[in-house]
């Protein structure tokens, strides 16, 4: 392969954004992606077996899905199971597209609350990149939310709330609590060649109308148009360092199974906080005996998820929650900021989740499984199309023992050790969740729920892998610097969620992409300066 200025590993949310920004700046960019393109025009939601697809080929858990592009994840030491996707688009192929920003306070948790560390950058530095990203992803929403700093008018109006969302909005009002229509990376009206959402429900199987944004539809066409090169079916095995401070090449196995080497002036890891940390650890050599960037035993540590409880109200009235984007309607950030009187530090977001189809309802996607036996049909009818759920998304603080390591036994098809997850929900996170469960139950009852069912920790909520290559100015306390450059190396960057210092209590993709755009500008400026 001919040399590029920049080689990106991973074509998901961050890799796509960086590829476009760099290519549009005149930088030659190549991206290696272990998966392929997904044809969303023929998504399973067009067929009768769409619910089977959600449980099997489109299952969020790679250990269940077992697609050719996936790698195994050893998850027997964590209550939160992985929910990641490999392919051009990465996790955005499978996501719900809820698109909130982090708050200014999220970047200053040490200063404000005396916990964890401050980020080496502030919200204001990211704000312009959030705006660029919102325009390219085609965000629906409404500016003016009093829980957040001002932002530009949203490109598109909010998605419909539906009957359940309307009832919840009135209940939040009745309690005097905040709610606001969600910023959603789902087009409520046509934009950039994408059709508007027709509220079919199962965004997770792909969107045949291209209404739900995924970066194969938003960033990649722009990046390719600007000259970026994307190589699919390329499974990276390791980074090769020719000096302590320099990555000379990236070794990968191509779609034909042949070992290849790619070289570039700068290498950028964008394989999510689990995959990128895994590659750093798997690239141990004489110069880097514990893995690249791991002189202080920090790579893979401080893994943060967003521990999530799901509280579901069962209503006597029909709410038809299977209609509408499942994860996008409204949010409440009433309890987002720290109030120590609540018994914990930091906070949480509540996000409305609509109902499910018949299979997921019976299997208990958000609730307990509907019992089998003679009462099954009555219970199914009382729940199906009669529920609305609130997720309680807790800010997880960095804990060194929560980590990604390499499994000594399991390997992927290219021989790379599988990641092993070790994770415990901290006491603070548990107290956050318990507070959120009580408040969510209260507002659901205020909305008229006749029963409230609590899932205290959603096991299938391992969507977000944050903190494993944390940013910081001090190399002894961080893996990457304020631009994502791996400390001690000159030409290696990480731009995915692994660089997060703290997690905030919101879905991280807008922040991941804003950080990627910012790092791309830094890299382009460096290359220009060197030229």
């Amino acid at each position: 392969m001919s040399a590029s200025d920049v080689l990106i590993v991973g074509a998901g949310a961050s890799g796509a954004a960086a590829a476009w920004r760099l290519a549009a700046s005149g930088v030659s960019v190549t991206c290696l992606e272990q998966g392929g393109w997904l044809d969303q025009r023929s998504a399973p939601s067009l067929g009768a077996d769409w619910e089977r697809a959600l449980q099997t080929a489109h299952n969020a858990n790679p250990n269940i899905r077992r697609a050719a592009a996936d790698y195994p994840v050893v998850d027997d030491d964590t209550p939160i199971k992985p929910a990641v996707f490999n392919g051009v688009g990465g996790g955005t192929l499978r996501w719900g597209a809820h698109f909130p920003r982090m708050h200014p306070s999220d970047f200053r948790v040490r200063t404000l609350d005396g916990v964890a560390d401050d980020w080496p950058l502030a919200y204001d530095e990211l704000a312009p990149y959030y705006e660029i990203n919102d325009r390219i992803m085609g965000v629906s929403g409404l500016a003016g939310d009093p829980a957040n700093p001002p932002r530009e008018a949203r490109p598109l109006p909010p998605l419909p709330l539906g009957p359940g969302g309307g009832a919840m909005a009135r209940a939040f009002d009745a309690l005097g609590w905040h709610w606001w229509p969600s910023d959603s990376a789902i087009a409520s009206a046509p934009i950039d060649g994408r059709e508007g959402c027709n509220h079919c429900g199962p965004c997770g199987v792909g969107c045949p109308r291209h209404a739900r944004a995924s970066v194969d539809l938003t960033y990649w066409p722009r990046a390719l148009q600007a000259g970026a090169t994307l190589v699919t079916g390329a499974r990276v095995r390791r980074l090769i360092a020719d000096r302590k401070d320099r990555i000379a090449a990236v070794e990968y196995v191509d779609a034909a199974g042949t070992a290849q080497r790619a070289v570039a002036k700068i290498v950028v890891l964008a394989a999510n906080g689990m995959g990128s940390a895994r590659l750093l650890l798997a690239s141990a050599s004489r110069a880097h005996p514990a893995g690249i960037g791991n002189d202080h035993d920090l790579v893979g540590r401080c893994l943060m998820h967003h521990p999530t409880a799901i509280v579901t109200g069962v209503f006597a009235a029909r709410l038809d929650g299977y209609k509408g984007a499942f994860a996008c309607a409204l949010l409440s950030q009433e309890f987002y900021e720290t109030d120590r009187a609540r018994g914990f530090v930091r906070g949480y977001q509540m996000q409305l989740v609509r109902g499910s189809g018949p299979v997921a309802t019976a299997l208990g996607g958000y609730m307990a499984r509907v019992p089998w036996g003679r009462d099954h049909h009555r219970r199914f009818r009382s729940e199906f199309a009669h529920t609305v759920s609130l997720t309680v998304t807790a800010e997880d603080l960095p804990e060194p023992d929560n980590r990604v390591t390499l499994d000594p036994v399991a390997r992927d098809g290219a021989g790379v050790p599988a990641p092993r997850l070790a994770y415990r929900v901290s006491d603070n996170s548990r107290r956050i969740l318990d507070h959120g469960i009580a408040r969510a139950s209260e507002v659901l009852r205020a909305a008229g729920a006749v029963d409230v069912v609590v899932n205290p920790l959603a096991s299938a909520a391992g969507f977000h892998f944050l903190g494993t290559m944390r940013m910081g100015d001090d190399p002894a306390r961080s893996v990457t610097d304020r631009w994502g450059r791996v400390h001690g190396t000159d030409n290696l960057y990480a731009i995915d969620g692994g660089v997060f210092v703290t997690s905030g209590a919101v879905n991280p993709t807008p922040t991941i992409q804003a950080l990627a755009l910012r790092s791309a500008d830094h890299i382009a400026a460096r290359l220009k300066e060197a030229a």
Partner: protein, 135 residues
């Protein structure tokens, strides 16, 4: 293992009534075998009392509840496979449509109609002063 034995299990898990067909009446055994891990299914079948299929509804339910208590993981796999097969069966989807109004068709390409977002709902929230922490 005969289809009849698996059908009797399925009908115990998902019995029929005036509205719903029993799972054992829908020729779902092949689908359940395909979706349920073989070892789990074998474990459940191996734990059945020899006269399971001949028992009445109470006896069959008691037998399955005992197996569920003894082998919860394997039993859960069987239940999940049974629900998946049952609720993707077209004859059941027609019942769901009749009883709940949920159309027996794929979500796309037609989607569903929803009223547009009504900004008037935000009247109370718009009166609230910004409350995010400055940092």
């Amino acid at each position: 293992m005969s289809d009849a034995l698996l059908d009797s299990i399925l009908s115990t898990l998902l019995p029929g009534d005036a509205d719903w067909p029993s799972a054992g009446s829908l020729d779902l055994s092949a689908a359940v075998r395909a979706d349920c891990e073989a070892a789990a299914l074998a474990a459940i079948l191996g734990a059945l009392p020899p006269d399971f299929a001949a028992g009445d509804a109470d006896a069959r339910e008691s037998a399955l509840r005992a197996i569920e208590a003894a082998q919860p993981a394997a039993f859960e796999r069987l239940v999940a496979a049974a629900y998946l097969a049952y609720y993707t069966e077209p004859r059941v989807r027609i019942v769901v449509e009749r009883l709940t109004g949920y159309a027996a068709r794929p979500p796309q390409p037609l989607g569903y109609a929803l009223e547009p977002f009504d900004e008037a709902l935000l009247a109370t929230q718009k009166r609230r002063a910004p409350f995010w922490r400055r940092a």
